[in-house]
């Protein structure tokens, strides 16, 4: 982009932000950075301007950059959920492309700021991840690059298994508090009179009776979705610095999690708004054509997957229409009044995530209009197997559960009374990739230090995969 274009972009952004505010969008202060493809793709691969080194990011970067160089695909923009909100624009984009991107980004930022799933994400994650990177770098100096890399390999392999619920997010703090309270509760009680706490209590305690096991917390059999946290807190095989790195990975995953859970909503929302904002801008004829081309490229449907821009936009526009022009029945039964479309949209963007968004607003009419279908492998070919709208909707919803990642629970941290780790896959009809499973188990083992078992279902039968440090074994449950 030339200096001139940059100046015009600046003027446009000001105008677009006014428009966006008038529409009711509510976003953080924006920091737009224009950067070359190399840099944008680096940020894209790492998910952040500064993050720790790992070869997997290098691999992603290489692939994305290659696709860009070959003209196969391109990222137009990258936006970070933070306050102020950072957005990175590609220097090689045309002026109009970057205008569209800015409008799109305003939609994302409004979503980050107002959607409930993002409420607890750290808005200073840019700095936090930079300082994590710094810390990991120091561990590299201290413990060797290979050692750190090997830990990151294992940590990243299982980092998706966290508990992003309110309870789960605070679990680390909660369990620390619980341990602290337990210790307080074990203060000497009967032998001595209750005294004011003093600085040498811990020494006096040594004379006291043996502490009784606490009643409120027995960690032998609990249902724990946060496999990562369970390992961080309970593994014997980790050193302190290793726990520290894993905690950082967990924190980063919790930060990214809402984005996994709102992909369709978020992209649809941003697309809806770039369309509305760009319509209000004064575009020349050529620009209007270029915009139309770019927009239709973004919402191009795919035969083999769901384009979140395409489906998301369609659902948002459908919500607007249905609440703007409710049918007679809807007016009578639900008391909807015409013209409430926008209001409804803002409510939805605040309270839903993809799963509820699809379940509540992907209607029969929409599914038919979008010609959505379920397909599956039949012999060697992939064929359409289902057109019934409820089945299609349910399949789509199922694919979005837990961000599309299989749900695991820690069943037992002292399995076989031998400190072995038993993990259960919450099977709901979708089988796991067994090759990947067998390759991931050693990572669990690396972090747990003892044999690891994972229960799942294959071909309708219960199976337990066990890795004992040497090889993976399958054992089928006896019928």
């Amino acid at each position: 982009m030339t200096q001139q274009e940059l100046a015009e972009l600046e003027r446009s952004i000001e105008r677009m932000m006014d428009l966006a505010r008038a529409f009711g969008l509510d976003f953080y202060p924006m920091r737009f950075e224009v950067c070359p493809a190399d840099v944008l793709y680096t940020f894209g691969a790492y998910g952040m301007p500064t993050r720790f080194h790992h070869w997997s990011f290098g691999k992603t970067f290489h692939r994305m950059k290659l696709d860009y160089d070959l003209g196969l695909s391109r990222i137009y923009e990258l936006v970070i959920n933070s306050n102020p909100c950072y957005a990175f624009l590609l220097d090689g984009n045309t002026l109009l492309q970057n205008k569209t991107v800015c409008a799109h980004v305003l939609g994302h930022c409004d979503f980050f700021k107002n959607n409930a799933a993002f409420r607890h994400t750290s808005r200073d994650m840019v700095e936090r991840m930079a300082s994590s990177a710094e810390r990991i770098y120091h561990y590299e100096l201290e413990h060797g690059r290979r050692h750190v890399e090997e830990l990151l390999d294992a940590g990243l392999a299982i980092a998706e298994h966290v508990d992003p619920s309110e309870e789960g997010r605070n679990a680390r703090r909660a369990s620390k508090e619980r341990m602290y309270r337990q210790r307080l509760g074990q203060r000497p009680q009967s032998t001595r009179k209750v005294r004011e706490p003093g600085p040498y209590d811990d020494l006096f305690e040594l004379d006291g009776p043996l502490p009784q096991p606490a009643e409120e917390f027995i960690p032998t059999r609990i249902l724990n979705k946060d496999v990562m946290l369970f390992i961080i807190e309970n593994s014997d095989a980790l050193e302190e610095w290793e726990r520290d790195i894993l905690s950082m990975l967990r924190e980063e995953m919790l930060y990214f999690w809402p984005q996994l859970e709102t992909k369709i909503m978020n992209e649809g929302w941003a697309t809806y708004w770039h369309l509305r904002i760009m319509r209000e801008m004064d575009l020349s004829d050529e620009e209007a054509v270029e915009f139309a081309k770019m927009h239709s490229g973004v919402v191009l449907p795919s035969r083999t997957s769901i384009n979140p821009y395409h489906v998301g936009l369609a659902i948002w526009e459908d919500i607007e229409r249905r609440w703007n022009e409710p049918t007679k029945e809807e007016q009578e039964r639900y008391g909807r009044r015409p013209g409430e479309g926008r209001e409804k949209m803002f409510e939805v963007r605040e309270v839903e995530t993809d799963v509820s968004f699809l379940r509540n607003y992907l209607t029969k009419d929409l599914i038919e209009k979008l010609d959505l279908y379920v397909y599956q492998k039949v012999g060697n070919d992939w064929r359409v197997v289902e057109k019934d709208w409820e089945k299609v909707r349910d399949a789509l919803v199922a694919s979005r559960i837990n961000g599309g990642i299989p749900v695991l629970y820690v069943e037992d941290g002292d399995y076989r009374r031998n400190g072995e780790l038993l993990i259960r896959h919450a099977y709901e009809g979708m089988e796991l990739d067994l090759r990947h499973l067998e390759k991931t188990l050693p990572y669990f083992y690396r972090l747990w230090g003892r044999p690891v078992h994972l229960q799942t279902v294959v071909e309708g039968r219960d199976v337990t995969f066990t890795y004992d440090g040497k090889k993976v074994q399958r054992s089928f449950a006896k019928d």
């Binding site: 224009v34 680096t42 790492y46 083999t304 397909y375 299989p406």
Partner: protein, 383 residues
Amino acid sequence: MVDFTLQREDWSLHRKGHIDQERHREKVREAIREHLADLVSDESLIMSDGKQIIKIPIRSLEEYRIRYNFQKGKHVGSGSGDTAVGDHVARGPPDADGQPGPGQGEGAGSEPGVDYAEAEVTLEDVQQELFRELELPDLAEKDEADMVVDTVEFRDVRKKGITANIDKKRTLLQALRHAKKDDRVVITPDDLRYKTWETIVKPDSNAVILAMMDLSGSMGLFEKYCARTFFFWMTRFLRTKYANVQIRYIAHHTEAHEVDEEYFFTKGESGGTICSSAYQYALDMVNREYPPERYNIYPIHFSDGDNLTSDNEKCVQLVKDLSSVSRMFGYAEVNQYSRSSTLMSAYGKLQIPRFRTYVIRDKSEIYGALRHFFSQQQGVKSA
């Protein structure tokens, strides 16, 4: 109210992606090294013209996760308006050739079913790792006119020359010299200094490889495949590393004759096996064309070991003769089922340091054979 900034910084020092990309490449190389034995015998790699990129599975490069089995799952797609049950969506994995996903690359990495198990490796990548370890054993310098190579050496600095060869250090020194009185350093055309080369004739070692292959009827597909794979890598290795190596191809069944490279690598013959015919042919060739005082001679023979029993004695004698004129004589036997072969049992008793034998039971052992023959010391013994 202005609550935004738009800026463009200088990002030229931002190299992070490239640094980790390099680390990834390093890991690819490591993986290639670990998988050399499999790669060396990979048919698709050998059949390619060398330019083609071959995908090979490299375990350590995939990022393994607990994830769903894409192949067994149900997925949602969107059609153009009139899709019906039973319609064809895609053949094979829907993303075998790239991403079918949205027009934007964003988030493509999280697409299920995209298999990154494969790393792209070219013939050159494999070669680089493989040839690092190989060399002609016991190569001696032989003095003879045609064993020379022309090399260039930069030895001189002159005032005239090609721009690409500017000697920056000397040019700058020159400029500094006359710039002393002035505080600005200006390089004038007079300061320019050029590195200049001389052509030097360097004596090099001359070597000849006598590649002998049994093409008799008993050599099945597997046997021929192993032999040719071995010779394929050998030929490439010699041509890459040595300037003056000749390769002569001798095919034999009951009688031996010299063939050209193409014939050697592609044609099959049939008939019985008399190995001594090849050895005799090689010995004659040596006597005729390659005096041992001028050439490093390396006969290498591939067979399935199924020799005419009455011929074995003659073979042993010829092996002794050939070994005495050679720097190394290699005999490789492709023996898939570990039969006891007549030829190997005869050779087993021989105690000639320059005579090396190797048994290939499995494709992956071709790599072992290469290392065994083309290493300075008696290399890895076949198990």
